[in-house]
Assembly symmetry: C2
Homo-oligomer: 459 residues x 2
Amino acid sequence: MYKLLFVSSLFLFSGTLKAQTDDSIIIRKIADEILMNGNAYENLRVLTKEVGGRLSGSPGMYKAEAWGQKILKDMGAEKVWLQECKVPHWVRGGKDEAYYVGADGKPVQLDILALGNSVGTGAKGITAPVILINSKEELEKRNIEVKGKIVFYNYHFNPRFVETFRSYGDAVVYRVFGASWAAKYGALAMITRSMSDAVDNNNPHTGALEYMDSFPKIPAAAVGLWDADKLAKAIGENKELKVFLRTNAKMLPDTIGHNIIGEIAGSEFPDEYITVGGHLDSWDPAEGASDDGTGCVHAIEVLRALKAIGYKPRHTIRFVLFANEENGLRGGTKYAEEAKEKNEKHLFALESDAGGFTPRAFTIGLPADKLDRIRKNWIPLLETYGVYKFDEGGGGADVSPLSELLNTTVSELEPDSQRYFEYHHARNDVFANVNKRELEMGAVCMTALIYLVDKYEFQ
Amino acid sequence: MYKLLFVSSLFLFSGTLKAQTDDSIIIRKIADEILMNGNAYENLRVLTKEVGGRLSGSPGMYKAEAWGQKILKDMGAEKVWLQECKVPHWVRGGKDEAYYVGADGKPVQLDILALGNSVGTGAKGITAPVILINSKEELEKRNIEVKGKIVFYNYHFNPRFVETFRSYGDAVVYRVFGASWAAKYGALAMITRSMSDAVDNNNPHTGALEYMDSFPKIPAAAVGLWDADKLAKAIGENKELKVFLRTNAKMLPDTIGHNIIGEIAGSEFPDEYITVGGHLDSWDPAEGASDDGTGCVHAIEVLRALKAIGYKPRHTIRFVLFANEENGLRGGTKYAEEAKEKNEKHLFALESDAGGFTPRAFTIGLPADKLDRIRKNWIPLLETYGVYKFDEGGGGADVSPLSELLNTTVSELEPDSQRYFEYHHARNDVFANVNKRELEMGAVCMTALIYLVDKYEFQ
């Protein structure tokens, strides 16, 4: 409260600054609406607890699509429709299993999850010697040792990066490409240390891999951090160690999924679009709370709050629950392709896909002069609510095709990243690990940004 | 990483800015030490799980004092000593109980906790009509109705405040003074809605009250939010509703507690002191994780990190685990009083007592010119690690007597406040609700600030 008054009093004496005072009043209204009457947390409860996991092609996907249509209507979208797209249909196919035989002759179980898009081992599983590989460089050096073995990548999440997404970017190549890197040298299967900094549990973290066409497709799975350490130690103590691995995964033919789109029409520029969204699909072992239930309910809350305060947008605003971000980006791609076909003008697209944690920033793709201007004019309006900087950068994955195909300005909410990779693609990505107030603060900042872009564009 | 390089390259071409580059290298070293080899989380585990709750005068207090001495020595303090002070000795005395009789004639239990410093009801408890009071204004208006009743304050935590400490400041007067306000008009006991915004549980939140001498001391307790709503509804449906309340609390004579102090001597100004601390005491129903185990391990981590990077401070730095913040402030008061008696020069005192959440700011008590200067010079160094502003304000409660008696510049770490009042003084203030990375980021920023103050004072 103090800060709002402070900002207002600073800006009493000029035209531009008078506008900022008016804007600060509107944004305070938005915040009051969300903090006092917010629906995002309850919507997330329903999505995570009643719909649950919703991987592309799974029964959960269809349930989630029905939920999304209904909620967008209920929250005030003037038009709601489904945009069809082909989506991959990968299935886990049963419980993943792995163990090695300990020094006492007894099997030591490893808690694993097959990686998304991976092939299975077959019903009998694979038993093979395991080779510990700490880095890509080590793999290249020791490539002749790999043949006929299971490669275990033990590359660690780097704790030095303050932004954990940088640690993820650094490590995730092992999950995405590690199977093909190993297959190139004749490996039979791959197990990777999870892309996580969780210290208080052993959950494996799944996520998509990509097979390179030139190498055989080998089964691949992730182990949690405790088991990764345990396995590395066992290999250290027994260079002949063998691992048994059984995964049942397979890729079925593509199936049909949908982007769920709600719209409110613009009063001045009905043919110019602003998009705000999250992705509706999520990995199967959990509820998809932080990835990306929070992004979906953020987008829906922007809609609800704008309607609740009676805001009439100048541009048409679309609220999109994207299909299939996780293992294909088919929804985001389809959305941009259709926009290009129809020659639509897309001014701006904002995604929330980094969790429902306390907001700190937006990344945004703008030329330097415009970036400077919005920093100067908009940060004073947003910082009361947690966003104190615009970082140069792209938008969320689902809006990036809009940037590529239509040169749309894209953006992503940057919540505090410290907790994200404790939950990401793991069993504990559940409703209980999302905080109501933090979630709401993200929705406040997103709604405020949409309001500012709608009002000023980037002028 | 990117940001560090960015800051460095900006500041290559001037003397002051060269100093900032050197500082950014030192602060990066501090961050690396804490993020890669940090002990704060493990220290917190021991304090919360092996020591546990540690209210002044309780067996836990003595256990915590022994732990504090040992850990300060282990982490490299050159000198460790105990500073004796009298502390209040309040005991809960057994399980608190309350219920009312529902419409079906069956008792409806309320989950309550007696407030700290409160008197008990006596073994038989109190059964009396209950009056619902929503605000102090309502109490004053309806004061003649209060006599012989149990007053139930149902004042809500205000969700409009972005900083939850403002909501707390707004509501906590009911906990602190509500018993005496009600006793003035002849109330027999007081129950208050908890000072919390938790939505997913019914935990009551205790905390200290203060009796005013002019009115009778009446028993007082807190109910969680679900039960507060339930009780308010029941009163709405039955104006004659009676509540049974039994608390067993009593205040015993003062006993002896201690501030635990570790020190590393200054190389240039050994007789000028910088203090960094948290408070060691905590409420009895929980483990005292966020209040204020995190502050204790923050201070200890500052010590460990400075030693680990081989930093030789110019001023003497004291690491203080304060006694009895919660219901007396006797430790902080004693520390300042003895400093005044000895005519010590205390340059700066920093406390962490707002949780181990991701850091955002420091409050600091400085004149405008100095505040402007540190904003300009130090924020570019700290913002990479989460602290992007210095807010005008005082320090933590335990260092405030230093400000009053010796005019010391005092400061407090301001972590993100959204989650704090879910746990504050409640059963769920436990280790599991502290995140390792967030805790470490706070320690990084505190160590960096201590380094900057030691190097530059506020010049």
